[in-house]
């Protein structure tokens, strides 16, 4: 129990929670906290970003690559509203964050004061929970409770809005032992009876398939290890969502690649034709299911998720199990080992031979070129030249993101940071800053598009300031590539406002920021220049000029089912393949 100001309590609570870094931007309503930071001689190291959205994405990158809670400190009004995109992004992707916002003094709240906004009102739908602290006595409890709520159950962002007079007010600080919200008790252990039933269904299946997602990553390192063991023990094929990449190694023979709208032929066909789908930590998102009434029509479905509201939301499942992936996987593995007699491996031979036929399609194949860099080739080379290093990948949103997911073969969890649910262009650069801060000696690459990256380009300045040698690898096709692809396929090639008429010279831009710029236009130069990028010990903007007309395949067109996927060579027939209803969809 110590007497201190509210601002000092913030620092104290962060230190008590083991927070080493906080991303932020000062302003009038958080000055007392910035003063406390200064006076505490950076017990918590502050990283000054260039825009509050960047602070939140950086904290997301930090959180996703470490498994810890990411922290942000911003001011009232515009500071808080600028953070909203990042908060929504973190909510969609279940990323644990604590975001502290300054607020005008309590007596001015509601008076339309300078830099006032209704922060708790604005952030209520885009946070897991939020607080406005109007009494200094509540502050220590609220700060610690925020961390508990952010990190437990299905993780998510929590906002703590602290008026300036509360930051100045004095009170006693102690770390609370219990929480006020008695109703908040996330369920961690799955129902043992249901897990038993799940294992019985697995033992009886002829065409089983694991379909895993970001929940496995969020559950922690152990969940990925248990998943690997279970997949090995069962011999079942496995596919994953965009969010779940890395939980199971892409080099493994049981891996079918990513599923969904831009998933592989084999993964989507296996989803369609399986007789048992074991969904672990994924949520049957519309990018995954395609046309719902034709989604995996012949399968029984098991769904493991820590959030009961994810179950039976889009797809009715046969056996829901509410619980943390790691706990449920551990129990499944234990019971599977006890199954007697074990299903004969021959049982699955017909299933694997069907999968082999789908694989033979080689659905990610593309026509390479000697004259122009194909974006897929660029990612392949990037992967080959970085796979033996300690590498982390972030992305922006669009074609480059899908190519990265398809061609960068992730072997480990927490190595892949991408905006999956919200699809936030501008995520990757600030996220890479957060990742690099957490892993100073690792190679951190933002696979970017020239359109996305300009949304948060200013954060390269943060990278330079803190000596964070992030590599911004831009697949520059001069278009908003995914928009252009949809316009080509769905809107008669009318490229309405998807071409960037005036792009910056990215090499000169890098130099202006005191970073290192590289441009590559020739496939023959690519390897050498990627090596140069890796070797330069400072932030790099790599302008990789690629084929502007390349499309991302396979693709499940809007309104179609998994077995109606289109491949690259089928491109000419795509307009016929999309129904009028399909054009209505995004």
């Amino acid at each position: 129990m110590t007497e201190m100001t509210g601002a000092e309590m913030v620092i104290e609570a962060l230190a008590d929670q083991g927070v080493e870094h906080i991303f932020g931007y000062p302003g009038g309503a958080v000055l007392p906290i910035y003063d406390a930071l200064f006076q505490s001689q950076d017990r918590v190291r502050h990283v000054l970003v260039r825009h509050e959205q960047g602070a939140v994405h950086a904290a997301e990158g930090y959180a996703r690559s470490t498994g810890k809670v990411g922290c942000v400190l911003v001011t009232s009004g515009p500071g808080a509203t600028n953070a909203v995109t990042g908060l929504t992004d973190a909510l969609c992707d279940s990323i644990p964050l604590v975001v502290i916002t300054g607020q005008v003094p309590t007596h001015l709240i509601g008076n339309d004061a300078f830099q006032e906004c209704d922060t708790v009102g604005i952030t209520r739908p885009c946070t897991k929970y939020n607080y406005l602290v109007k009494n200094i006595d509540d502050l220590p409890r609220v700060l610690h409770e925020a961390f508990h709520i952010a990190a437990s159950g299905r993780p998510g962002p929590v906002v703590v809005d602290i008026p300036k007079d509360i930051q100045f007010a004095k009170g006693t600080y102690s770390r609370p032992t219990e929480f006020q919200h008695k109703g908040y008790r996330p369920r961690v252990n799955g129902d043992p009876e249901r897990i038993k039933q799940a294992v019985e269904m697995m033992a009886a299946a002829k065409r089983p398939l694991f379909y895993t997602g970001g929940g496995v990553i969020n559950s922690g390192r152990k969940a990925s290890e248990l998943l690997r063991e279970l997949v090995k023990a069962t011999g079942f094929p496995i596919t994953s969502t965009l969010m779940g990449l890395g939980a199971f190694p892409a080099a493994d023979s049981q891996w079918l690649g990513m599923l969904g709208m831009h998933g592989t032929w084999e993964a989507n066909w296996a989803m369609h034709d399986c007789d048992l789908m074991i969904c672990i930590g994924a949520r049957f998102d519309d990018r995954i299911t395609g046309r719902l009434d034709a989604f995996s029509p012949g399968s029984k479905k098991i769904h493991v998720d820590i959030d009961p509201s994810s179950i039976n939301k889009n797809v009715k499942v046969d056996l829901p199990i509410v619980g943390d992936c790691a706990h449920v996987l551990e129990e499944m593995l234990r019971l599977w080992r006890g199954v007697s007699p074990k299903p004969d491996k021959k049982t699955y031979e017909p299933w694997w031979s069907r999968i082999a036929k789908w694989r033979a399609k080689d659905s990610l194949a593309f026509h390479n070129s000697k004259d122009v860099i194909k974006p897929q080739y660029a990612i392949q080379r990037l992967f080959e030249l970085t796979k033996d290093r300690d590498t982390y990948i972030t992305t922006e949103v669009g074609q480059h993101q899908m190519w990265a997911a398809q061609f960068y073969r992730f072997q480990e969890p927490n190595r892949w940071m991408t905006s999956g649910g919200l699809g936030t262009m501008g995520y990757g650069l600030p996220a890479s800053v957060g990742v690099q801060l957490a892993h100073p000696d690792s190679l951190v690459i933002d696979i970017a598009g020239e359109a996305s990256v300009q949304m948060t380009m200013q954060e390269i300045s943060t990278a330079v300031q803190y000596d964070l040698p992030v590599k911004i690898f831009i697949l520059n096709n001069k278009y908003m590539g995914m928009v252009r692809q949809w316009q080509e396929l769905l809107h008669g090639g009318r490229y309405s406002h998807s071409y960037s008429e005036a792009l910056p010279d990215f090499v000169k831009l890098a130099e202006a920021y005191h970073a290192h710029g590289i441009r590559c236009e020739n496939p023959a130069d690519l390897d050498g220049k990627i090596r140069e990028m890796i070797d330069v010990k400072k932030p790099v903007i790599f302008d990789c000029v690629v084929d502007p007309a390349e499309n991302c395949f396979p693709m499940i067109p809007s309104g179609r089912a998994h077995n109606e996927m289109l491949l690259g060579d089928a491109a000419v027939k795509i307009e016929d393949a999309i129904t009028e209803e399909g054009k209505m969809l995004v």
Binding site: V120, G121, R124, P125, K128, Y129, L132, I149, R154, Q180, H181, K182, G183, Y184, D286, R287, T289, G290, R291, L292, D293, D307, P308, S309, I311, N312, K313, N314, K316, S558, G559, R560, T579, E581, G582, L585
Partner: protein, 180 residues
């Protein structure tokens, strides 16, 4: 034809719509009602009626009674979504969770003279509505009962000079000795 060809959850129109009364026990803290209402508006759920008041003062617990409608899948979603809100303690479905009673209170103002006035009083008597305000040309009736009963009463008041209605919305509780 194939209106269901969508990446998004199938349109619920063809499915059976059910009406449910939900009781939600919440921490009585600032913004809690906004969280509940925001959930309904943000996710496109219906609210037919909503009442809220603190019911356990020492524990600062409020009870929200919501009458909502949707397909069984949507109703399940509503319950799960409510349950995961941090200040929500419990969500009880009083429509399916055993026998329950639901009541609503309404104040109904009618204006009229002569026969209309007498007719209004006779009908009020039949419905066990009480007169809680009267002038020489008006009455305010207080009526308690199921929403259907109140609806019928209001319809009957129309021809005799209905002026205005104020309703509390439904409150409900399970029958028998057990608490929620």
């Amino acid at each position: 034809m194939n209106t269901a060809t969508t990446h998004y959850p199938a349109a619920a129109a063809s499915e059976r719509i059910e009406i449910r009364t939900l009781c939600v026990l919440v921490d009585n803290e600032p913004g809690v009602l906004a969280r509940v209402i925001g959930l309904f508006s943000g996710r496109g759920y219906n609210i037919d009626s909503l009442t809220v008041s603190e019911t356990e003062h020492e524990k600062h617990l409020s009870r929200i009674t919501i009458v909502t409608r949707g397909t069984p899948m949507v109703i399940e979603q509503i319950k799960n979504q409510l349950d995961r809100l941090v200040p929500v303690h419990r969500v009880i479905d009083l429509t399916t969770g055993g026998p329950a009673i639901a009541r609503e209170l309404a104040m109904v103002k009618v204006r009229g003279k002569g026969d209309h006035r007498m007719e209004a009083l006779r009908l009020a008597d039949a419905f066990r509505a009480r007169v809680i305000d009267a002038t020489t040309e008006s009455f305010v009736f207080e009526i308690t009962g199921s929403s259907d009963k109140i609806e019928s009463f209001i319809n009957l008041m129309l021809p005799v000079g209905l002026v205005e209605v104020s309703r509390t919305g439904v409150v409900a509780i399970g029958r028998g000795p057990e608490g929620m």
